[in-house]
Every structure is written in C-alpha cells, then in structure tokens.
Symmetry: C2
C-alpha cells in the first residue's frame, strides 16, 4: 500500500505579516518589548491566516508504540511500561493527563503499535479517549533489519492523517509514549541529517554513561544494517516506530489543514523532521514548545531552525512540554486580539530614542 | 515616622524537603525528568509548608509611581505615560490586563506616587481594582538629592505591607509601572551590589546607545549626590521610587505570611533585592518568573542566586512576565497533587541504568 500524503502549500504572505507586525507595533507597549511572545503572535497569525488569531478546541494527541530495539537494552525501562503508561494516561495519573486537565486540552491516546493489546473502551465526555490504530504489536528489531515494511509504514501514515481529519479545532499538540523511542529519534536524526551517533545519542529516560555507550553500539548496528534507507520514508520505515510514523501522517494532515502544531520534545521533533523532509512547508505551521534535556534535541532543533519557547530541562516526553508551553499560545493571540493601541487608549508614544 | 518591618523567619525544613523529593521521585516519570518544574514544585511545597501545595486566589498587584529623574531624559517615554497606563490597566487594554484575565488573576493597580491625580472609582466584581496609596506626586530628582525623605519611604513601606494584609489568597504576583523606573532599578543594583553603572544601565523602554550614555551620566550624578546612602533603606529612600518602596513593604509582608511571591522583571526584582538585604529569608518565598531583556537583570538575578522560569526576551514590565509564567506554578502543584506514583498506577520501575 502507498501512503497518500497531502501536499503542503507555502502560506508565506508578506502583506499579512506586515499587517500583523504593524498591529503589534501599535499596541500599548514599547516596540518589541514582548520579545518572543511577539514572534509567536506573528507565527500564529500567519498559520491561521488572520490578524486576530484564536485557538479553538486544542487537541493533545499521545501516540504510543513499542520497539523491537527495546529488547537490546537501549532503555532504562522495560517495554511493558509503554502499555502501563497508556493505562495511566487514560486513568488521569500521568504528567500529560494532569497538565491537559489543567489547560482544558482534549486528550486522545492512540495505540499505534503497542506490544500488548489495549482493551477498547468508551470515554466519558471530557475524559481521555483511546483510539486503537495498531499496525502491529511493536516494530521489528531495527538492529537486525528494517523496523517495519513499507506497507506498514504507509498504514501508520494513513492512520495518522485520518485521525487528525476527524479531530475538531485548529491546534494539535503532539505527545508520544514508547519505551526505546529516544533511540528511534537519535537514529532518524543521524540518518536524515548526516550526524554521528555520538552527537545524537543521549540518556533517554535515565541511562548512565556505560548504558549510553551500549545504546550507541546497538544504534550503530541499526544504521549499518539499514544502510540503504536514506530517503525520508525509507528511513522512517527502517529506523522508525509506529508512533513516530503515525505522528508523521498526523503532522502532514494538520499542516495541510493549517492547524497550529505544537511540538513537544525529542521524539515528536523527530516526526516533524521526517515530515519536513517530505514537505518543507510543514515547518511554517509548527511551534516548538521546549528545548529538551535530551542530548540530540538541540541539534535537531537547529536542523529545523526552530527556536523553542521553554528551556526547563524537561526530558519526559508524553507531550508534557507541549502542555506546559501551551498557555503562551493563547497569550500571544490575546495580545493581538485584546490589547489596546496607543491611539485607542490615549497613551503617549515614544518621545526620544 | 518609622516603618514597622515584619521579621521574616527561616522556613527551611529538611524533613519536608525530603518528603517532597521522595514524592516527586515516585511519580510515574523517569527520575528528575520534569527538570525545572520539579525544583519549582519543591519550592512551592516548602513555601506553603505542605506536600500537597495548592495556589489560591492569586493576586496580581501593579505598583505605579513617577520619578523626578524622568525630567532628565532618562526614558524614551514622557512621564504622562505612567498615569495613562494606569488608566489602560484599569480599562483592560494593557498586556498585564489581558494576561491577568486569561489566567484568572485578580488585578489591583496601586497609585503609590503617580504625578497626576488618579480619580478614585469602584470596580465591578472581577474587574481591575484601583487603590490610592499616593505618598507624593512623584519623587524628587535623585540626581539632585534624595528621591524621598525617610518618612516618605517609611510611609510607602507601610502602605505596601498594609495592602498585602488585606489581600486574599496565598500568592502575590508583582507588577509595576513608572516612567524612568529602570533607572531606579539600575541605581539600586549598582549601590547595593557595588557594581558599575556601565554594567547596570540598559535601554529601558527603548533608548539608543547615545540615550543610554546620557542616562548613565545622569545616574552617576544620582549616585554621587547620594553617596552616603549605602544601607538598604537609605538607598531605597535616596535612589528609589514610591512604587518600588511600596513593593518592598508588600514583599516583606507577603514573605511574613508565607505567600508565594512571583517576581516579574528588572524593577520588581530590584524591590526584592532591597527586601532581601533587609531580611534575607525573603528569597525563600520568591519565584522568579523570567530573565528580562533589560541589561542588568541577569546581574541582579545572579546576586540573588535566582534561576528564572522563562527567558523570552521580555522587557515590558507591568507584571507581564509574571503573568506569562504563572501557569507553570499550578502545573508544579498539580504534579505533586495529582500525578500517580509507580505503585499506585501499576507501572514498572527502572530496570537498568
């Protein structure tokens, strides 16, 4: 099967950008004094195509999957933690559950390829929702061959696009869960950006130096055995995971619909990296929530010329960093929509420089 | 008159700190993976003296005052902007008005010493409230002598303590407005920390390099003419402003009551610097919202060993940075209060390092 990937148009609009900048410059504040919040307001206005952006029904989607690589000891935690955390997300006890509740973010958890079967269930209104979109019960061990087939990868991409099509609102927050998926992100960074694994490989959930060294050696095997997988979709199938591939499909669909995409940490950034290599204009729709404490994330952000909002040493994933950064987005919209201009408020302008 | 300054007790409690750390370490997340949010949770638990901190009825207070120094051209904006912005705060059109509304922060604007008389008014419930606590219509020009008398300074300190005593809730967010008050903050930093004005003086609301040089020369006159004012309260009277002195009183009272104090940028940090030189344990109750784009703020933060939450290049003041950082505080409390432990959620722990 083939994935039907949407085309992502260039939404650059110099006239709108100037109108937004003019509006910001006439608000009752010294020029540029809201710093990064002003550039965020510009971005949101341009994504939503309006001088008065408003975010509606924001959707936090946590993509979950397991990885054959986990059996090689690349993570500090066992694979069972993936399904256990899916249950924890749904029960409301995980960090992302708490933060989504705080900010009124609808929370959807997607089984993209968890090893254990997750029992289907109905969610009460306002409660976290489970979607079963399992392609297979975990990937194959990428250190021995491709993690998934091209058909499986296409299925995951289509699943991601389809589920976003069904979501309300105009903002998608990316989250993920999958023991060993920092390995996947490191592999995709190394392969797609031509960087060494020494630069791309970090502690994940808590490896020590010897553990990182073992992990790096396993990841080198994965790069070596999948040496021909250099094109973005080939690399995604050979080195990726079902949660990452489903997320790539979701990102492409969200970008096609001009939703605001709030990217979390290292793993969700890896999905955006793949999507942006397929369709560069994806990045016009992305806001990067934070700089993770995980080694490699800063390199990945630099590859996408991304300037994240927060720098709090987070390295949890789940979408927790996206949820923590979320309130800054409605703040930026509020500045554009609700602040008075110098003229309207009768405030004197600058007299000297 | 003398200010009646409360004593600020040492609230360090090793047993509580350990209990909080133990609780954080057993939440369903890799050890330490919520980074700065975890240290924030520790701080909030210790301020409020509980393993289950909850923030109640947070109060944003914007302290406003005018400065004799403004007539010397140290600001890019005229003094009239102070009262005009007070009106803008109350009308709901300023950045801090918009952000306080977004986050459900009660907003109080205090005339501590604005040059123009601000008309008293009743606020509808939920609307910004005006308090008239004017000591004098602006300070004297500090480049010619003391900005205020000792009695005026004591009056401002008492006003600040008294108004906090009447506020509900357990969290105080600091904001300020006063054309020329980055000059005041630079002077207090230079005098209390023994730093040069070259290091402490920045662009404020938007001076160019020549403007900064003129400003620095005026500030040097102020330091020279007030050379004997070295003790914290003497420096505050000689070099400070009514909004800063009122804020110092407010900070001391809030600290005495073990309220959480969320500090905004350069000027509010200057008030905390003065308060902490009077009573060092004040800093145990403070959370620093952001690192300002204003030169000098980083130096001031370093003097207080403060690690701010955000670094967004903000340099507006008003409390806007405190309002933007605010949601991180309930997030940190939510982690402690609502996240499941590994045991309760049936999630496997770390297997390897």
């Amino acid at each position: 099967m083939n994935a039907h990937l949407p085309l992502i148009a260039d939404i650059a609009n110099e006239q709108l950008a100037q109108a937004l900048q003019h509006k910001l410059d006439h608000k009752t504040k010294p020029l540029g004094s809201l710093g990064r919040l002003e550039s965020l307001a510009l971005t949101l206005g341009q994504i939503l195509g309006t001088e008065t952006p408003a975010l509606e029904q924001p959707q936090m989607v946590v993509f979950a999957g397991d990885h054959g690589l986990a059996a090689r000891g690349v993570s500090a935690f066992p694979s069972d933690v993936t399904w256990q955390m899916v249950e924890n997300f749904l029960a409301g006890g995980a960090a992302v559950s708490v933060l989504a509740r705080q900010h009124g973010l609808a929370l959807t958890v997607v089984d993209c390829g968890v090893a254990r079967n997750i029992a289907p269930r109905e969610a009460a209104p306002g409660q976290p929702r489970l979607l079963l979109r399992k392609v297979a019960p975990g990937t194959q061990d990428a250190s021995q061959g491709p993690a998934m087939s091209a058909a499986q990868c296409a299925q995951a991409l289509n699943n991601g696009a389809e589920l976003v099509r069904d979501l309300p609102g105009n903002a998608l927050l990316l989250g993920e869960m999958g023991i060993a998926n920092t390995s996947v992100a490191s592999l995709l960074l190394a392969r797609l950006c031509g960087l060494s694994l020494a630069e791309c490989t970090g502690a994940g959930t808590g490896l020590d130096a010897a553990g990182i060294e073992r992990k790096r050696a396993v990841l080198q095997q994965a790069l070596d055995v999948n040496v021909a997988a250099t094109a973005p979709l080939d690399a995604l199938a050979a080195l990726g995971g079902y949660e990452v591939a489903t997320m790539v499909g979701a990102v492409l669909q969200a970008a096609a619909e001009r939703r605001v995409i709030l990217v979390d940490g290292f793993i969700t950034s890896a999905a955006v990296l793949v999507a942006s290599r397929l369709q560069p204009h994806v990045l016009q729709r992305c806001v990067f929530a934070h700089r993770s404490g995980e080694r490699g994330h800063q390199l990945m952000l630099a590859q996408m010329q991304a300037e994240p909002l927060l720098d709090l040493g987070l390295r949890l994933g789940e979408g927790s960093g996206a949820a923590l950064a979320w309130p800054l987005l409605p703040s930026a919209c509020g500045i554009l929509r609700e602040m008075a201009s110098f003229e309207a408020a009768g405030v004197s302008g600058q007299t000297a420089a």
